[in-house]
Amino acid sequence: MERPDAQSADEIDLVAALQAGDERAFERLVRDHGPRLFAVARRMTRDEAAAQDCLQEAFLSAHKAIGRFEPHGSLGGWLHRITVNACLMRLRAAKRLAETPIDDLLPSFSAEGLRVGEPRAEVRDPETELEATRLKSMLREKIDALPDAYRIVLLLRDIEGYSTREAAEAIGIAEGALKVRLHRARAALKTLVEPLWDELGPS
């Protein structure tokens, strides 16, 4: 979703200039790709100062690694992965990627494996544009309320365009564990959102 297409001729020239150590090419790289990558860093860290640090870290990493950049790859995609990794490193260092228990947000079952707690009536689809917009903004708010370990998995899979395998590798957990965590994130989100769903109607 987030990854731009393969290289244009213009981009090939830019990469060549970067590999030659051209300072103006580096500035162009920052100005061209910075805004999109800054948005990535902001939504991953949810912190303006941290996002700025991560973006700087990412561009410095890119500067160091540009010699190894594959000429056939997408520069935007490459920078995107570097930025995501810079953010993940920071979150990991701050112990924000460790899974925290969210049992109270997950469905519960009896010893026989039956679902406990009667779920609510069928949730209805938003009927108007306004309702749909409200629903989305409510969801964003609730996604932000999730612990980082879960929120990040949702972001990587749903927004940053990572596959299960890529997300698992980036976070440093097994694919199976990633899938479980993603499911828990969605189940927790459902628990948080459902009670508010009916309030979406026109007010």
Partner: protein, 105 residues
């Protein structure tokens, strides 16, 4: 073809004889994403379908779960979260200065 009558009879048979293969709600929960993603084989899908047919609670759960699952990416994928075109000028300058302080690649 499995008619509703035959299916009901089969489920009844499974319940009475405790034939393994019938899912509990907890097991259903674990297969939910694979089921929605179409990642279960034919037999697996059938077992989940049977659970859904017999368990209105899980049916309602899945319906709501699926909606949240579908809308979450769209909720995050907005101009606001992408914040295109916005980067503080002093950040651009800080990055360029930091690059100058580095040895060349």
């Amino acid at each position: 073809m499995i008619t509703r009558h035959r299916l009901r009879w089969r489920i009844q048979h499974w319940l009475e004889n405790r034939v393994p293969g019938l899912l509990t709600c907890a097991e259903f929960q674990q297969t939910l994403d694979d089921y929605i993603d179409g990642a279960l084989g034919r037999a697996g899908r059938m077992i989940v379908d049977i659970h859904l047919k017999t368990c209105p609670t899980c049916r309602r759960y899945m319906s709501a779960y699926r909606k949240v699952r579908d809308i979450a990416p769209r909720a995050l994928d907005t101009d606001e979260t992408k914040a295109l075109g916005e980067i503080p000028e002093d950040l651009v300058l800080a990055i360029i200065m930091a690059r100058k302080a580095q040895p060349d690649a």
